[in-house]
């Protein structure tokens, strides 16, 4: 190996803003304008209402944290503290999982990946979850179409959203399937999460295809209300059978 000092000396020659030199000045007009515009927003809104729609803002940050390292690396808890104690993350090219308070949030980066990759990811954060991404009618994309679990009263949230917390469509930039699960989920569980079907592809649950009266993008199996409760509907009851 080349001498470490040589490498560092060489490295210092590369950036446009030289090491040891600051970039912009906070007293400049643009910097002051930015500060003012940022502080117009309420600080800590995500903390005030962690389970509401702002949750996806937190998610954007959390998932960004998960993307910090290359595939398959579990990130230490101090990266982004969620106030809930130990947090851990998993990131691979197929899925990212991030602890947010009392939930784990999984973001499906490759809905066509082998489901064992997803299982491995959940295992890394201590969950025994089998996640199957299945083709569904457009109205059910982003919804959990069936699930089974050992923990009683398990609740979850699923959605297909972008970084701006808005429901989006498959194929749009930054639009991914999300699944929120309770961090204290124990025992084995499985979920079938709906994705957009490919052209000519058979829906996983054709029996529901004709009942396309559920323009639902967010499903939470929980008695709690949310600011968007009008768009929510209970998920179908879990099926005891193992997924195929």
């Amino acid at each position: 190996m080349k001498n470490v000092d040589e490498i560092e000396i060489m490295m210092r020659t590369l950036p446009r803003v030289r090491p040891g030199r600051p970039g912009g000045r906070p007293s400049d007009a643009g910097a002051r304008t930015l500060l003012a515009s940022i502080m117009e927003e309420e600080p800590g809104a995500t903390v005030v209402e962690p389970r509401g729609r702002y949750g996806f803002r937190r998610l954007a940050v959390g998932l960004a944290a998960a993307a910090l390292l290359a595939a398959g690396i579990v990130v230490g808890p101090s990266l982004l503290r969620d106030g809930g104690g130990a947090a851990s993350s998993y990131a691979s090219s197929e899925i990212e999982i991030q602890r947010e308070g009392d939930e784990y949030v999984a973001r499906i980066k490759d809905p066509f990946a082998d489901h064992q990759k997803f299982s491995k990811a959940f295992e890394a954060v201590g969950l025994d979850v089998e996640l199957l991404i299945v083709p569904v009618p457009p109205s059910q994309v982003g919804s959990v179409v069936s699930a089974g679990f050992e923990t009683p009263s398990t609740e979850w949230t699923s959605a297909m959203v972008d970084r701006d917390e808005k429901v989006c469509k498959a194929g749009e930039k930054g639009c991914y399937l999300l699944l929120r699960l309770p961090a204290d989920l124990t025992g084995k569980s499985w979920f079938k999460l709906g994705r957009q079907a490919r052209a000519g592809e058979t829906y996983d649950n054709p029996g529901r295809a004709t009942a396309a009266v559920t323009p639902v993008q967010t499903t939470r199996r929980t008695p709690r209300s949310s600011p968007q409760s009008g768009t929510e509907t209970p998920a179908p009851p879990p099926r005891p059978a193992e997924p195929t």
Binding site: M1, K2, D5, E6, I7, E8, I9, M10, M11, R12, T13, L14, P15, R16, V17, R18, P19, R21, P22, G23, G24, R25, P26, D28, A29, G30, A31, T33, L34, L35, S37, I38, M39, E41, E42, P43, G44, A45, T46, V47, R58, A60, V61, A64, A65, A67, L68, L69, A70, V75, S78, L79, L80, R81, G83, D162, R163, D164, K173, G174
Partner: protein
Amino acid sequence: MDDERPARFEAVYKGAYGQITAYAARRCDSPQDAADVVAETFAIAWRRMDEMPPGQEATLWLYGVARNVLANHRRGEVRRQARSVELDAEMADLYGNSPDSGVELAAIAQVFRTLPDDDRELLSLVAWEGLDRQEIATALGLSRNAVRIRLHRARGRFSRALTEAGVRVTSESRLIPAERPL
């Protein structure tokens, strides 16, 4: 609402603005991209004020946030913040130096860009931001030992890649801005 938060955020903002803008400028293709990264980083910091560690660790925490924002930006997923024309112009000032396109530097930069993203970031945090291992560990949420090991491996990969590319490193390299972002 905690009344101390605005004052604290402003203090952190003023203290870290130069470092975060430099961080972004060293890694982004354009001043507009760098401005986006800076704006989003501080916007996230404001929203997550309650999680911001005290003292000097706040800057390290901001590096971690900026790192994540940058990763998103590279995937085209960064949210557009309300950045101003002035901010773009001020960031453009950081890009104003005309690069030295020395053959050796260009070759080094080219090899550097072939390294895995994590390797580049670790090497950069040491050489550009001047962070030590413990500080990198704090910023990235890793153990100090993990940083040590990964840094060692990253240096090894960089060194081997330079050798394979036939780049001979001399200690005479001067502090010259790179032609392209890294």
